[in-house]
Amino acid sequence: MKQLLNWFRRQKLEGGLDRELQYHFDRRVNDLMSSGLPETEARRQVTLELGGLTQVREEVRDVWLTRWLRDFAYDLRFSARAFLKNPAFTVTAVLSLALGIGATTAIYSLVNQVILHALPVKQPERLVLIDWKGDQAANGFGTYNLMSYPICRELALRDRFFDGVLCRAATTVNLSTGAEPKPAAAEIVSGSYFSVLGVRPAMGRLLNDEDDGAAGASPVVVLSYDFWKTQLAGASDVLGRKVLVNQHPMTVVGVAAADFRGIDVGEVPSFWIPAAMSAQAIPGFDIQRDRRTRWMQVLGRLKPGVGLVEAQAGLQPWFKSRLYEDERSAEFPKLTAERRQAFLNSTIELTPAPHGHSSLRRRLLQPLWVLLAATAVLLGLACLNVAGLFLARGSARDREISTRLALGASRGRIGRQLLADSVLLALAGGVLGVALVPIALQTLIAFLPRDAAANALESTADARLLGFAFLISVSSGILSGFAPAIQVGRRSLTASLRERGGTTFGSVRLRKAIVTLQIAFTLVLVIGAALFVRTLTGLLAKGPGFTTTSLVSFGLEPRRNGYSPARANQLIRRVREEIGAVPGVERSAVARFQLLTGGSWNNPMTIQTDRRIITDRQVNLNAVSPGFFATLGTRIVAGRDFDERDSKPIGEAGSRSAIVNEAFAQRYLAGRSPLGVRICQGAGPDAKPSIEVVGVVSNFSYRGIREESEQAYFPILEENADSASFYLKVRGTPDTAFTSIRKIIQNADPTLPISNFRTVDEQVNRSLNTERMLAVLSGSFGTLALLLSLVGLYGVMSFVVTQRTREIGVRLALGATRSSNVWLVLRDALVMIAAGIAVALPCVWALGRFVESQLYDVKPTDPVMIAAATLVLCATAVGAAVIPAYRASAVNPTDALRFE
């Protein structure tokens, strides 16, 4: 290491050594002269004593840098000069490597940010996610790993295992900091949140246990550093300022540390609200402390010295007794014996959570590893390409190398020189690749859509990323230099000096092996691309099951603007009426929940036919207005749509009718007509199926396009539709509709934000963002791979033809036909292509299961896809080989033989 440092300060070292030696020299000369020697004689003797100043300097330099490092430095200089002389070669090689290194680094950056990066908090490795394994006998809303607020408080008391336990839930609120309210991402957190994570305030104070007392008693918020900087211009007097959260005034008490962005990399909160203020943060949500509502993720910090397994085992006895106590309490819901047992069999599960909790990570985990693997293959391909180029150049440099060998250079020394060549190239490629990384990252991040909550992904390269890029550059340099270096080791000196500009047979064999590998790598990537593109087109062709053209949707949440339920209902009815009157709007309808967002309202159901059926899984539910199905263009296959009859008089709870989809009828009623069957939500013995099924609707997507689910619809009740997603079928372009809709809502309430205002086509695209990312990226990787291996194949075939010109000439002279010569060359190419395919297919078969879960309607071993990809590869590869082969047929025998 010291030696490397010395390399950078060698100027200074040299100066010092010169002075030191000069001092010695002068003193010695003086001493000798004073003992009577004449000056010239004295100088001569001193030089003799020292054994030559240059020699001493060289020896000291060896101490500074060690021998091999100095040699390497000289090699690099020599290589650089050689590269500048041969720009075409250099540009091709550097570009191939830059593409490979840039792509790998960009994907690695995403992997790092989304999957590997630990939270910037105190000892993140001690954080664990606490989850309930089994039936919680509770209702839930939110994403994954949900539990109730009370259980978080109870877990916090298990101080034998935990240094603290926190819970949190992400939400969107309407926030006004002075001007109009805007939707903003917030995190509802327990008072322990910041202290358990060990986050410090940048200003003021953070939330604590006192802020998490009686409901509604602590109207305070902590702002994120980014929000404070960007939205409030970093105002120094922000502490004590009042902001409106869903029109409830709250006081800013602090700003969190600059690097802390919540615990979810995919949803960065603008600010934090104590859980005691849940009713204000989520309008109408007044059951924060309900044991039977699961809506928060719970994380704990393990005590030092307590292992995860130990804590998990230690918690079970307490948890068991708590379950039994809970089950005996009066409030415990009535359940079937089966579900009751499932509840009592529940366990508590701990998983390491140094990265926090993120549904984005969950969604991207597999796709990102798949992409990283694909880029690694691409990089390997680029290395092979450069290795091939080097071999080609190696044969051009043949004489130089043979001469150096003959003059006594060691084979190791020349091998090292060639390695220096490729490392230098790879470093140049790495620099170029890293320069491209920010652009590539921006493109990648743009694949991930954002709503109110931004993600914390950054497109800048940090030190860790640069380290990674350096590492893979050096390794790809070594990889691509390996083959040429080995080649030198095997070279027969006399043979190559005797030959005329040609090379030994081994070199051709090595190059063919490289091209074969390239073809194999390429086929793997092309098949991958075919599968992912097929998945995306399959999903797009399937569509959501309804016509998306000219369909526009948006959401209104008046309760977040401080509306009472009754006033919110009035506003929604007014907007509905006015939109219905807009001439450009053909049809319009309202649903309680938006489609294709990944989420849904779901519950198990009880069905009463001649017997009682309980659904074996969750049914997706929605409440819709009359005309909803017609607006979407879905078909009512039996029965009728909702109409005025289905709305109950004001004050009467529940619905009197329901519509189910075909999948529901098929799964639970097996061919019987569902009309007249009675159903209800819930699966307990106290569930009373009283809602009559009045219609059956054809299947369409609710949560996402992949999913096929059982669905049931209720009429959206006139008296409690206090938030709504509007669906509009428009004539002409959606843009004109956008303006008139905006005007209507502006007139109704200028401060009311419109959420998710977009065409349903766009919503479909958003819901397919992961699939699109995989298809586009794997498609471009496949194309690049194809290009790289074509260059490789073309190169080696041209070389073979040049080399065999003489042989071909002889054959022609002896009466061979031209077409037989084409075949002679083409046969070589076909062998390589076939061998490549033979290597690739087992790999595809083995790798298939890693991507299986990302595919739709196609198996990783789908014979049609594999055949198509192989055909594309063969066609292009043969195309690349035909040109050199044709040249072989055009050889003039007299010219070819005149070389002799």
Binding site: K2, G16, L17, R19, E20, L21, Y23, H24, D26, R27, R28, E49, L50, G51, G52, Q55, V56, E59, V60, D62, V63, W64
Partner: protein, 113 residues
């Protein structure tokens, strides 16, 4: 050139340098002169090999160097022993005496039989 002298045994130069510097700090020429005095009639030190040795010892952290005014008034690079250099000297002295002791024993044995 006076009477024939031994070339210095491999590896002992480092030890001699450490020993000289353990008494006082010195510059390269000073060390060369001390070596010359010590070894006048016994061993022969190639002065050219002194500098690579000094730089090697400095790189190992056994010596540290400083530019100071010398007795002639000109600036010279003065070397001195570091703490780890002192430790190293003790180690080498110990192993040297064990080696010579062992060799002596072998010779004694040989002369008895």
């Amino acid at each position: 050139m006076s009477s024939p002298r031994f070339p210095i045994p491999q590896g002992t130069l480092d030890m001699l340098i450490l020993q000289i510097l353990s008494l006082e700090t010195a510059h390269g020429y000073g060390i060369a002169q001390r070596l010359e005095q010590i070894s006048r009639s016994v061993v022969q030190v190639n002065q050219g090999s002194l500098y690579p040795a000094l730089h090697r010892l400095e790189q190992k952290g056994w010596l540290e160097a400083e530019w100071k005014q010398s007795e002639t008034g000109r600036e010279a690079k003065f070397y001195s022993l570091t703490r780890s250099g002192r430790k190293q000297l003790a180690i080498e002295r110990d192993s040297w005496s064990r080696l010579t002791g062992a060799v002596q024993l072998i010779f004694d044995e040989g002369s008895r039989s």
